[in-house]
Subunit: 312 residues, 2 copies
């Protein structure tokens, strides 16, 4: 069964999957396994299991939005605002952790959660190895832990030279099979190094994508991310992703927010990712208005899915 494979972290993949599930139930999410912040990071430290956060988001994305499922979906998304030791925890993360306790297996916990949430399609962790994501900066400094790369404590103007896993991350075999049999592979949107490259650089993933005859679509981010992609244009994103895989189409958003909104983002050091055609001559660029207006500069799942389906 050839399906659409969506590779990335939680938030970006959530948007893509939610949109695409209206067109097909042959969806496979291959999920980054390196989150070390927040509720996920705490559970990871305390239980030693794989990080649940990104898996949780993909499970919710693929869960039917029916009345029957409403409370389970809301439970999974619920975050405790109260309770010593509970405050800040995502209930869905606790759900996955309890299932991991019971089943003794990360994979089995995900499968059971998928069954309980009635999801169609598959959610696969990119690796079953419990690894720390590390980044080497341009000055040779090594930053350890996804959340330390994501929310930089180092000088954020230093560029990331490469990311690697400690210990090595080997691809989960079901991911390899899904990639090989896919009719389309969608990468992003998502944090370039901490969600995208961290997943593409898992041993076996890049090779499988290169061998696959699937159409390969990269969805570029709308805004830059402080410390991770400071000053990046579309071509900077594309050239890094292209190190790991061929790209048939690059999907770019061409719609800015209103000046007030742009200013708010700029105060957080996030800037509009410019489409620099002059450096993108060898790529098929599809530019569209892809944002959810007008409150947030986020990809709109409906617009995104519609555009992806036109390319298949």
């Amino acid at each position: 069964m050839s399906s659409i494979v969506v590779i990335g972290g939680g938030t970006g993949s959530y948007t893509v999957l939610r949109g695409l599930k209206k067109y097909t139930d042959q969806l496979t999410a291959i999920v980054s396994m390196f989150d070390s912040g927040g509720s996920t990071g705490k559970l990871r430290d305390e239980f030693g299991y794989l990080p649940p956060g990104d898996i949780r988001r993909c499970l919710i994305a693929l869960s039917p939005e029916s009345t029957d499922n409403l409370f389970l979906r809301r439970l999974f998304e619920h975050r405790f605002g109260n309770g010593e030791g509970l405050k800040g925890h995502s209930f869905g993360n606790l759900f996955l952790t309890a299932l991991r306790d019971i089943t003794g297996s990360d994979l089995e916990a995900i499968k059971q959660a998928a069954r309980i949430l009635n999801i169609k399609g598959k959610v696969l962790p990119v690796t079953l190895n419990n690894c720390t994501l590390c980044a080497e900066l341009e000055d040779g400094q090594i930053v350890k832990g996804e959340t330390n790369i994501d929310i930089p404590k180092h000088n954020p103007s230093l560029r990331i030279k490469r990311v690697f896993h400690e210990p090595a991350a080997l691809a989960h075999h079901e991911c390899i099979e899904s990639i090989k049999n896919a009719k389309a592979i969608i990468i992003g949107p998502g944090d370039l190094y901490t969600s995208i490259v961290s997943t593409l650089s898992v041993e076996g993933i890049s090779e499988a994508i290169q061998e696959s005859s699937a159409k390969k679509i990269y969805i570029c981010n709308i805004m830059t991310k402080h410390g991770e992609t400071t000053g990046f244009r579309v071509s900077d994103h594309v050239s890094i992703v292209n190190e790991y895989m061929p790209i048939d189409y690059v999907l770019c958003n061409n719609k800015r927010g209103n000046p007030m909104l742009m200013k708010k983002y700029e105060e957080e050091n996030a800037f509009f990712v410019e489409i620099d055609y002059e450096n993108l001559k060898s790529f098929n660029i599809i530019e569209r208005n892809l944002i959810t207006e007008p409150i947030l500069l986020r990809h709109d799942s409906v617009k995104l899915a519609k555009t992806v389906m036109e390319l298949l």
Copy 2:
């Protein structure tokens, strides 16, 4: 629809409901709402919601024991053994607390949990008032909080004179209706004061039971409980329950454990409850071997249900 109403706390009602659900799906559990210990007590203190523990046990009892339901049941029963702030928490309690957060209503949270667990029958909190259970001892001393009565810090040889709620507990109206329409009402087994009397003494419950034409069955405890029923025989239990309701049948266990087992219980100050027929002349006593042998002196749900059904 006339149904069997089971009144009590979590553990005793769990046993009765699990057995009876093989005979009927017209079961209503009316559940004690005064637990203040353990995971339940902690959540109660931190969130200010009704205590979830006894409700959780009754929900699991009424949930079908099918393969489809297996993981949800196991999740509900799971207790975290790890995690700062999570250790010792029952996952089912967190489930109910999250549902309470989402729905904004204790009743709605129970209803949604019942739906998710596919239960047949009803689980009703005896009251929607958030009360503290208090006991007045024979020396006039007042002990506040269910767990302080249950695990006495006071001199345990002092008898309990009465229990009361602070503030007053008013019966939830659905309980009154269920009791009035029941064909049978089963009380116990369970801690005499903290589960049974605490529930029977909720305003409106005793009156409704007296008005109901249902057969009324009291299932007496197997062993005494230190501080709560020290030295009690069957007649001591019966005379206290009888203050709140007429009793058509008293079900008593007549089977002791082996000497080794009895000794273990005696070391915890728990003794076999003797059937003192001489003081029980005005009651219909049904005595049977009702225990699950040989490891624990607990009521066996199959034996209990079979005996109850013979009386209806």
